[in-house]
């Protein structure tokens, strides 16, 4: 830190404070600018259509000027819901096992697994889904239920998303369960409760807020995931009637159409509106989650 000696330290302090202020102003402006930019870009669409007709209609053919987001919104919600149903119980049970029953080395090993799983890029999950999940579903799972499918369907998207959500959910759930004071457990055990009863009545009740937060962050992660889902979910603009039919979530819609959107009028506005929808939904979910965690954090 010899550079500190070359300039008067008051100057250094002033320069670095300016740097700090510029950086923080940039950060504060970022969400505002993103929101504003997306609103301005999607505004032309509202001159011609009402929000209700955009969200309520499932007619999607940009060439004829029809922009109905219903199928995409439903597709997004269904694939997210499916991934949640598949991953949440798994993560919760695994987190209970790892923090309460498993030997220490297994927990350490699991942190490594989580680290790597969280680091694997989504496009690699997508490639893996195409290689493993899609053929598995089209050849084994769907026939077992009496359906025929190409494998590029809602279920594939849900499975891939569920696996991608595991490291985030599991990590947070483990943190939550580990942070519960051991005295509470000891008190319950000393009253004659079994280990499992203690977990059921004390641990899960105490960690309720944290668990809800972990799960809802997993949901918001799944809602915005793009490339991996796009690669396996089939991308047909329809409302799927069962999990073996293709769907078309919002992020995939944006990613798939950036090439030809400039030539069709209002198409880019429609895609920016989908980005705006995603942005608003996820910011709201995250804000509510954080608020919940923050509120209970100050109460304790």
């Amino acid at each position: 830190m010899t550079t500190f000696l070359l300039l008067p330290r008051k100057w250094i302090d002033r320069i670095s404070n300016t740097w700090l202020n510029v950086a923080v102003i940039f950060l504060l402006l970022l969400p505002l600018v993103i929101g504003l930019g997306l609103v301005l870009k999607s505004l032309p669409l509202f001159h011609e259509y009402s929000l209700g007709s955009l969200i309520g209609s499932s007619d999607w053919s940009p060439l004829e000027g029809k922009f109905g987001f219903y199928a995409f919104i439903i597709g997004s919600l269904l694939v997210t819901l499916l991934s949640f149903v598949l991953s949440a119980p798994v993560c919760l049970l695994a987190a209970i096992y790892l923090t309460q029953y498993a030997p220490r080395w297994l927990m350490q090993a699991m942190y490594f697994v989580i680290d790597v799983l969280a680091g694997i890029p989504s496009v690699v999950y997508g490639a893996w889904g195409v290689l493993v999940v899609v053929p598995l579903i089209s050849e084994h799972v769907a026939p077992a239920f009496g359906f025929t499918t190409t494998g590029y369907c809602l279920l594939s998207g849900g499975v891939v998303l569920a696996i991608m959500a595991v490291p985030y959910m599991l990590n947070m759930l483990m943190e939550v369960l580990r942070s519960i004071p051991i005295e509470l457990k000891e008190a319950s055990l000393s009253l004659g409760a079994t280990y499992w009863e203690t977990i059921k009545w004390i641990l899960l009740r105490q960690g309720k807020t944290g668990i809800i937060a972990a799960l809802s962050l997993g949901i918001s992660k799944a809602l915005g995931e793009t490339i991996a889902v796009l690669m396996v979910v089939g991308n047909v603009a329809q409302v799927p009637h069962n999990i073996f039919q293709p769907a078309y979530p919002l992020p995939a819609l944006i990613a798939n159409n950036y090439g030809d959107m400039m030539s069709v009028p209002l198409y880019d506005a429609a895609l920016m509106l989908s980005a705006l929808l995603l942005f608003v939904i996820i910011i709201v979910v995250n804000a509510l989650t954080n608020l919940l965690v923050y509120k209970t954090g100050t109460n304790n």
């Binding site: 670095s16 950060l27 790597v116 496009v123």
Partner: protein, 283 residues
């Protein structure tokens, strides 16, 4: 009664074991498939050459353009993210440490931004580019990825900086150090392992993300020479080649996936080693 209690616990214990085992199984299955599929297609030509004529029909060449492009992009955006994020993360714990409300607002904002999907940043970057009539370029890609990884870097670094005991702050001030000196001379040093972990985390996110560069960095068969050139990236190389119907091209996508996964694994190991090595400097 007692047996029923025991039985329930036993049943759940087994379910939990199976579930935990299946997570580990899936983990190995992912690595195994990626390694096994990629290994066949991997060759020296793949990593040392740009695509030649007819590359996308299965002829010769490699994906050096995407490897170099991804590295440029990740280094550039990580540098910018540190430039913006470093003072903020330190400031939250030194300059504004007394102003709890303000720091909480900042953390709240950063957490919300962390969750914003990269496709939204990509779409926003594209909107800005069309507004200024810019083409897809390395610079646009770097800026978009920076926006996307800044919150990740700050929150990851902040989590470590905030564990530094307040006694160090008081000790530093009592020796007459300025806030800047305290932040960069004491706190930064103390949190150096956390800094490196956060740096590598941001780098890994930057290099692995496809959705944010899809609109903004473009794609090209050449290694970019200037910041205005479009840039190929590894995730997009995988994505585009995998959608090809020619088997040789698909094979290359698997090789590219292996290379990308290898880089991510190397970063993860590096981050662990660095944490261990730099722990020595901590009081």
């Amino acid at each position: 009664m007692k047996n029923k209690k025991k039985l329930e616990e036993q049943i759940f214990l087994w379910i939990m074991r199976v579930v935990t085992g299946s997570i580990i199984l899936v983990f190995f299955l992912i690595l195994l498939v990626i390694i096994q599929k990629g290994w066949h297609a991997l060759s020296w030509e793949m990593v040392s050459q740009e695509p030649q004529g007819g590359f996308y029909f299965g002829k010769g060449g490699g994906i050096l353009n995407a490897i170099v492009g991804s590295l440029y992009l990740a280094f550039g955006s990580t540098f910018l993210a540190v430039l913006i994020g470093l003072p903020v993360a330190l400031g939250m714990n030194v300059h504004w440490v007394r102003n709890k409300r303000w720091v909480n607002i900042l953390r709240f904002l950063l957490d919300a931004l962390w969750g914003v999907p990269s496709i939204v940043f990509g779409a926003f970057g594209f909107a800005v580019m069309t507004y200024f009539h810019l083409r897809a370029s390395l610079l646009a890609g770097i800026i978009t990825v920076t926006l996307f990884i800044v919150p990740i870097f700050i929150r990851a670094f902040d989590e470590v900086v905030r564990t530094i005991p307040p006694g160090l702050l008081e000790a530093s001030y009592s020796l007459g150090a300025t806030r800047t000196r305290t932040a960069f001379g004491v706190f930064f040093r103390q949190a150096l392992p956390g800094f490196i972990t956060a740096l590598l985390l941001a780098f890994g996110r930057g290099i692995g993300d496809a959705a944010s560069v899809l609109f903004t960095a473009g794609y090209t068969d050449h290694i970019p020479q200037t910041l205005q050139d479009p840039t190929a990236t590894l995730p997009l190389a995988i994505f585009f080649q995998l959608s090809s119907s020619i088997p040789e091209v698909k094979e290359r996508a698997y090789a590219a996936a292996l290379i990308l996964t290898g880089i991510i694994l190397a970063i993860s190991v590096l981050s662990r080693l660095a944490t261990r090595k730099f722990k020595k400097n901590i009081l």
